[in-house]
Amino acid sequence: MGHESGAYTEKDLLRMIRKWVPRERVPKRVKVKDTADFFRVDYDDVVVLDSVPYFVRNNEREGRFGIDDEQKFWVKRARNLLTGDVKILKWVFRERFEARIGDLVFDCVRSPQKEARILELVSGKPAFMQGKTVLDTAGNQLRILDYIKGKTLGQVAPELGSDHEDYFQNHFPALLKEFVVLVEAIRFLHDHNEKHGDIRRDHIIRDETTGTYRWIDFDFNYRHGESRFGYDLFGLGNVLLFLTGRGDVTTYRLLREDPEAFDRLTDDDVNIVFHNRVNNLKKIYPYIPEKLNRVLMHFAVSAPVYYEETQELLDDLGEAL
């Protein structure tokens, strides 16, 4: 299948590259590559998508996309040579696998069509990454995402405040309000029968240009049981726990740093899934309000009932604000 090169000559492309890229980074030659196979697209190549030339830079790594700092060969940073904007190009990479939490095993899939669908659904909504979907030359859905410059929520929260009390009194209230906005965004997905699929603190980025937090990475899906959104809610609980604790408060950490607090804990105080994480944070930090702690305890071993709908979580958070 022939690849799209548009009307651009190599001379045109080099002129455009020079406009956006420091001189020392401008290659001597530039090749326009077919978009059908991401393995053939390398650093310094150009791909043309929807008549727009993109100058390809590095593959993305986790922290932003994917897992454990591995290179994602199908996710490449690129510069739109018409506007100079940095974009993330995400090729189709289908993956079906079993996720494991303790003894529990469940089917998961990486689905480009799911991400394409959600990108369309959340277009213009500031709590989500933005982008559009085009077809590569093989007819697959390639997503062109706006690059979000900023830190993940997982990086932001632990850096705030001099200690937990300072953090909790002076920074956490604003973060909690931001978190509520993020939960409302997930409710929007759920209201449209869509899951996020991979909710975790690394999938929320504070956009430096706007100061708002945005959800990223919508291509995961899990095979749900009776509760369609239970796994998403579990993810939201983990993020809230992390924010409230200014990081993960683990039994191991407490044992080393605060053995007295550790002695106050019972088996009921830990996370229902991760038994080394403490959910009953009020026992560690007594100034945490009861209403907020009660929300955290919905995700603890001792919880008699669980959240099934995002709205239930939002209602309780509303009382805790």
Partner: protein
């Protein structure tokens, strides 16, 4: 004029929702043991194949093949359970079965919708012995049935 109704006593209609699990088998055996041979009962066996999301399949054909395979398996299972119930004393014409792809929000919603359509007075399910983590992450159909069912009884068989 002497008019006798043809069916003076209406059958009690039970809906047994099953899947391939042992707990479903226990539910069927319980009903067979408890009510088999008694008159006045009608049974509908139901197997709902959870609607698969298109995201898990690359093509429509792949999805269709999956549904066909699951439907065939469900029908074979239902036929087997029907035989058990008939052998326990239910008249053949009083035991029917139905397999379908559930397009409702959840399995419990689908079961309750069908119960309503068939006007069954009782829903019978087996209790899956899920871990707390599993129930937390993916929910429990029997728990939800107990909470959501209206105008009917729910039997959850251990």
């Amino acid at each position: 004029m002497d008019t006798q109704p043809e069916n003076p006593v209406k059958d009690k209609h039970l809906l047994i929702a099953v899947d391939e699990s042992d707990s479903s088998r226990r539910a069927v055996l319980y009903v067979a043991d408890f009510l088999g041979g008694f008159p006045g009962f009608q049974i509908s066996l139901l197997s709902i194949i959870p609607e698969p999301e298109q995201d898990f399949y690359e093509t429509e054909a792949e999805l269709k093949a999956w549904v066909e395979e699951k439907t065939a398996k469900a029908n074979a299972l239902l036929e087997h359970y029907r035989t058990i119930l008939v052998q326990s004393g239910f008249p053949e014409e009083k035991v029917r079965f139905h397999a379908c792809v559930g397009d409702a929000k959840s399995l419990s919603d689908a079961i309750l919708a069908i119960r309503c359509d068939l006007t069954c007075c009782t829903v019978v399910v087996g209790r899956h012995h899920k871990t707390k983590t599993e129930e937390f992450l993916f929910g429990s159909t029997s728990n939800r049935l107990i909470h959501e069912a209206k105008n009917c009884a729910v039997w959850v068989v251990e």
